[in-house]
Amino acid sequence: MTNVISEIRKDYIYNLILKGERADGRTFDEYRDISIQTNLISKAEGSALVKIGSSQVLAGIKMQPGEPYPDAPNRGVIITNAELVPLASPTFEPGPPTEVGIELARVVDRGVRESKAVNLETLCLVPGKQVWIIFIDVHILDNCGNILDASSLGAIAALLTTKVPASKFGLGEDYPLPVNDIPIATTAIEFGDVVMFDPDVDEESIANTRLTVITSVNGSICGMQKSGTGTLRTEQICRIVDVACEKAKEIREKFLEV
């Protein structure tokens, strides 16, 4: 699952960092261009294609009635799944989900769940018997780095366009799924003293540590995930959180355009 990167490329990126530059000319806090297209898949209840630079992620929502969990009889169910299909990268392989894929899906799930973007109580049909199950399926199409942010954006963008397919199951009229929050994940990597946002695939593969911060509309943090084998100092974490909040605001404005 590791991306092979030549020593000379590694050196080049490292030397640029010492000069305060990045290979594609961005500043350390700058994101690549983000585009969101919704409702591309008419078979799905909601869908969104998110591009961050050349990275492409397609998220689709399917809904069906089903049984609630016994410990939450009045609450709907969200099941998030990520497919790191081998089409997306020379390092992805077919087969059961890998650690990376499971982590990705769980972080996306955390953003949606913890921000309470979807009020699960409103998804109850018959208490203890029948609730709506929301399947969030994230399909990675092209991995050019930072697919986590793209997946998280895709999930919420797809939810925002979701129509609850009530008529299909004889449960009344279709209606738009109420969404109360827009959680935004922002990911940074760490190199020595430098913190860089929205890493591309080369930057990802030479960094030791990655930190994802998920913020909700009111500016609070609703999820975090550190991954990688390195360490982070508190001042680095604080800086990442500060920038993450600002970036999230900018990115959230994208949704007003959709």
């Binding site: 869908s47 689709g60 799944n81 089409l87």
Partner: protein, 251 residues
């Protein structure tokens, strides 16, 4: 009497439910080179089908015991997104996708010059993003363009489409309703000079109907071939006229 009823439900004044003639393809859109990481890629829309294909290779074979001393092996993975169909599909391969992967690989392998790359593998990945009957033929069409886009040497392109029978009438490129309630479905893939590389059939045809349906499918394939060609020429003719400016130093 039955014929009469069927005709009423599938045809209106000689046209189909989506107002196509019986021998008309659905609208097709093909785009090459849509993925940055892949060596070659293609996005295709055939009616309601949305399919993306990527080619990686020739590259080293893993696991090693699969490698062939005299030629490259070809792997083809057909996969459906869980949201591509009406009822959510459980992610991952099933018996259907294994079969489709096999016949699709065998549809493309005859034109790939595998002997140029011994001990290596050419991987073809096909993801169905939205399904509307005819995903395997859409996948093969996309894969063929993606192979060309990856610069894999081939004897020719491969084009594919299906012919079927509904309400006792032969139709080209059946859509979902026609496929579900139809009497026969026959996907075909071929080279531009008419060598068939994929042929499957289910349902019921008379001998005459079969030869007519095959003729119809082959005509569809020729139309698709022209679109595939146009797509590749569109992408690469442009590159040729551009002056060669950038040379990446650090790679």
């Amino acid at each position: 009497m039955e014929e009469c009823n069927d005709n009423i439900s599938f045809f209106k004044e000689g046209l189909r439910l989506d107002s196509r003639r019986p021998d008309e393809l659905r609208p097709i859109k093909i785009e090459a080179g849509v993925l940055a990481r892949a060596d070659g890629s293609c996005y295709i829309e055939m009616g309601g089908n949305k399919v993306i294909a990527a080619v990686y290779g020739p590259r080293e074979v893993h696991p090693r015991h699969l490698q062939e001393v005299t030629r490259a092996i070809v792997r083809y993975r057909y996969n459906m997104a869980s949201f591509s169909v009406e009822e959510r599909k459980r992610p991952g391969p099933d018996r259907r996708s294994h079969e489709i992967s096999k016949v699709s690989r065998e549809a493309l392998e005859p034109v790939i010059l595998t002997s140029y790359f011994p001990r290596s593998v050419i991987d073809v990945f096909v993801e169905v993003l939205q399904a509307d009957a005819g995903t395997r033929t859409a996948g093969i069409n996309a894969a063929s363009v993606a192979l060309a886009d990856a610069g894999i040497p081939m004897k020719s392109m491969i084009s594919a489409c299906a012919a079927g029978k509904v309400g006792d009438t032969l139709v080209l490129d059946p859509m979902k309703e026609e496929d579900n309630f139809g009497q026969a479905d026959m996907p075909v893939a071929m080279t531009p000079n008419g060598d068939i590389t994929l042929l499957q059939m289910d349902g019921r045809f008379t001998k005459d109907e079969f030869s007519q349906a095959l003729e119809m499918a082959m005509k569809g394939c020729r139309e698709i071939y022209e679109l595939q060609r146009k797509c590749l020429i569109g992408k690469y003719a442009q590159l040729e006229t551009e002056p060669f400016l950038e040379v990446q130093v650090c790679d």
